[in-house]
């Protein structure tokens, strides 16, 4: 797996990524889209990452970029 931009989050990120990939290939792709066994790991990883995003001012850049996501959501987050 790729690293996190915050080295101190690498351990928890790896645990989360491993959990996600297992869920994705074994459950999600087989039609079980509702389970969420990786949620706790993700919450921990996110707490760790959020600090770095703030420190480096990336959170502000993200906020700006998110302004255009309603467009892509409307186009791709629906049944085709």
């Amino acid at each position: 797996m790729a690293a996190s931009i915050a080295p101190e989050c690498n351990d928890i990120k790896e645990k989360y990524d491993t959990c996600f990939l297992k869920w994705y290939s074994e459950k999600y792709l087989r039609g079980n889209t509702t389970s969420n066994e990786c949620e706790d790991l993700f919450a921990k990883y996110k707490t760790c990452l959020t600090k770095t995003l703030k420190e480096r001012g990336i959170d502000n850049m993200l906020e700006e970029a998110r302004k255009s996501t309603p467009e892509t959501d409307a186009e791709y987050n629906r049944r085709t």
Binding site: Y28, Y45, K46, I58, Y76, N77, R78, T80
Partner: protein, 188 residues
């Protein structure tokens, strides 16, 4: 504005491609050393459609030409924001990304689609990539053109490397999965 686009087909099922896609930037891929970080920002499944939506932050150490770097303030680390949508029903992944760094001088919007191939749906996957590159810096058209051309050139090189690197990840994924299956069968 300049547009870069490319198409290709991977000889792997959509399930394999869409799974390996999550670890495209891993040590198995030695062609994308410019990607130094991939972080997931949010992830959820739409209860109505079953579509998996993921936001990621991709961090690159870009080896841009020196004159481009100096134009953009000399920083080599850049961030990309990506939103992706996996639709398991139509077997399609769409990834939309845009640059966060240098956004006031250059706007790069990329859309990548991995979709079950129309001709061989169970064993191969079509890949489509399109990027729109617009230099926003006011001033001479000549400079804007030059910035766009250099960016397209860089994009082209990275796209080629990206494809080669992803092939390596796909091959390794298939090998690891089949070894795992063998282990599980022999254990059973």
């Amino acid at each position: 504005m300049k547009v870069f686009s490319s198409n290709c087909t991977f000889d792997y099922s959509w399930e394999e491609v869409s799974t390996a896609n999550w670890r495209k930037y891993c040590p198995w891929n030695d062609k994308s050393p410019h990607v130094v970080g991939v972080d997931t920002l949010s992830r959820n499944v739409d209860p109505e459609t079953g579509i998996l939506r993921t936001e990621r932050l991709i961090t690159c150490d870009q080896n841009a030409p020196q004159w481009v770097l100096s134009l953009f303030g000399g920083t080599a680390t850049s961030h990309v924001y990506e939103v992706s949508y996996v639709d398991p029903a139509s077997k399609k992944v769409t990834m939309c990304s845009t640059n966060l760094t240098w956004a006031n001088v250059l706007c790069v919007r990329e859309t990548v689609i991995y979709q079950r191939s129309a001709s061989m749906p169970s064993s191969s996957t079509d890949f489509r990539q399109e990027a729109q590159i617009t230099a926003l810096c006011g001033g001479w058209q000549k400079i804007k053109n030059k910035v766009e051309e250099a960016s397209v050139e860089r994009f082209k090189e990275n796209a080629k490397r990206g494809r080669e690197g992803f092939e390596a990840v796909l091959e390794m994924s298939r090998r690891v999965f089949s070894e795992q299956r063998e282990l599980e069968t022999s254990a059973a």
